[in-house]
């Protein structure tokens, strides 16, 4: 029978929630890496027992952790369990070394909040995206924005400097969370095509495996940049793709929900009847590529759900026509946020939808959003949710 494993990153550690295909009884393990911020965990599609985790701290910096047994045990890559490789029998410690490739792309400045130029400095890994085919290859989106790749299971990281070297870096600026590269989407039909998104620069696409990148922001409109339709400067919050239809993308921007039917070349607004189109998450039904989900947030100054009600909005028409999904979700006095990487879907026959809140709840729906229940209620603030569907 199929199983699901939900990987939850929080402000104070990681948790792993596991259930069989019925998804009604859950085992919870954690906190892993207690006390650290876990921005993101994600399993390899090529080897589901291989999970990568971004462990970070303003005090102690970045650490990459890896599990080769589905999250039961963890190690810093370069230090397989039971293997000692460094002097004195200690593990090697290069797996947290993210150094910009300044030889290929000299460090520029970027725009600070007030428009002045600011030094480019590594802060943390926001998102880890394992290769679709090779468990040892994994991409990392970092703050200040850049894309790194490891081809040895996370031991060593090299920047793909063509993105930061695009030449528009001085126009990139931080969103409220920092100047982060938070979305990485690998095209399952074209291994040379990768999409990324940066707050606040916009979305970019490479068609040559990461050597060169082009902004794909035509159709976006942002009032907080001097030219609202500029090629660069949009605060894209998240982008989603259904792997069965890789040229169709859905985007939750700072404000506005958007779609593209031509791999990001052009975007159209699909906010329709949403009560507010500010938000962070967006995701797509595994089997119905025109069924999409968002969680509207009241505004950019009020990062909590609209009207004190936790509502997922679903469109079965690819946007514009939205219905509120409320069964099992709190409909009064609720003021949580749902952050950009904190929604995911499984691939079971009845598609399961999952999301985590800044209030520490992880909700799931086993019926594509019709009804919801909490798996856990009182975790630290949830930063990310990923789901693995296991055979």
């Amino acid at each position: 029978m199929s199983k699901v494993r939900v990987l939850v990153g929080t402000r104070k550690g990681a948790f792993i929630l596991a259930a069989d295909g019925k998804r009604d009884k859950w085992e919870v393990s954690g906190p892993h890496f207690a006390g650290w911020e876990l921005y993101h965990l994600k399993g390899s599609p090529a080897d589901p027992n291989r999970i990568y985790a971004s462990q970070t701290s303003g005090w102690f910096g970045q650490v990459i952790q890896r599990s080769d047994d589905g999250g039961k045990t963890w190690h810093q890559p370069g230090t397989p369990p039971g293997e000692t490789t460094g002097p004195g029998g200690m593990p090697k410690g290069e797996s947290n070394k993210f150094v910009y490739d300044t030889a290929a792309a000299p460090l520029t400045t970027h725009q600070f909040y007030d428009g002045t130029q600011h030094p480019w400095e590594f802060k943390r890994v926001w998102h880890l995206e394992p290769s679709l085919t090779d468990p040892d290859t994994v991409y990392a989106g970092v703050e200040d924005a850049a894309l790194f790749r490891s081809t040895d299971g996370g031991k060593n990281w090299k920047e793909l400097p063509g993105l930061r070297g695009h030449g528009t870096g001085p126009k990139w600026q931080p969103g409220a969370g920092g100047m982060c590269l938070h979305t990485i989407i690998l095209d399952p039909k074209d291994p040379n095509r990768i999409y990324i998104a940066i707050s606040a620069a916009g979305a970019f696409r490479t068609d040559d495996g990461g050597k060169t990148w082009k902004p794909i922001n035509k159709g976006l409109y942002s009032k907080y940049i001097p030219n609202p339709t500029a090629e660069i400067g949009h605060c894209v919050h998240h982008v989603a793709m259904n792997p069965k239809r890789p040229s169709v993308l859905f985007m939750q921007k700072h404000w506005d929900v958007m779609r593209s039917d031509n791999a990001g070349d052009e975007w159209t607004k699909i906010s329709g009847n949403l009560p507010t189109d500010f938000g962070f998450v967006i995701d797509i039904h595994s089997h119905e590529p025109e069924t999409i989900y968002v969680i509207p947030i009241k505004s950019d100054g009020e990062h909590y759900v609209h009207e004190g009600k936790l509502r997922v909005f679903r469109s079965k028409t690819g946007g514009n026509e939205w219905e509120a999904l409320t069964k099992g979700l709190p409909q009064e006095n609720c003021y949580v946020n749902v952050l950009r990487d904190a929604m995911a879907v499984d691939t079971l026959d009845k598609c399961g939808i999952y999301f985590g809140t800044t209030g520490g709840q992880v909700y799931m729906s086993p019926d594509a959003g019709d009804s919801w229940s909490p798996i856990v209620r009182d975790l630290p603030a949830v930063l990310s949710v990923e789901v693995q569907t296991l055979a």
Binding site: W36, W59, G61, Q62, P87, M90, G93, N96, K97
Partner: protein, 101 residues
């Protein structure tokens, strides 16, 4: 000359390095912040980047260094550490800033 220096680590670095609150490390030559931290990172490579930047070797902003009830955070990294640290009577303390985390 090789001496044994006691170094006290904050909780999260103990967890990363799989050690107790204090470690003993061998330091060759002059005992300074730099030589002590070099020795710590050599003995516990997983702490590279967690105390000082990988490349610049600058102290991470929210960490402080104390010894003998003195704040040595802003001393030159090449200044000699107090004799009590060199003799092993007192530990060299690596402290997370009081903001906690």
């Amino acid at each position: 000359m090789t001496v044994i220096i006691r170094v006290e680590l904050p909780q999260h670095l103990r967890t990363l390095a799989h050690v107790g609150h204090e470690v003993e490390i061998q330091v060759e030559g002059p005992v300074t912040q730099r030589s002590v931290l070099d020795a710590v990172e050599s003995a516990y490579p997983m702490l590279r980047g967690a105390i000082r930047d990988h490349v610049t070797k600058q102290r991470r902003a929210f960490l402080r260094f104390f010894a003998c009830q003195e704040d040595l955070t802003h001393e030159s990294p090449d200044a000699p550490l107090p004799e009590a640290v060199v003799s092993g009577k007192e530990p060299f303390l690596i402290i997370g800033a009081i903001a906690g985390g």
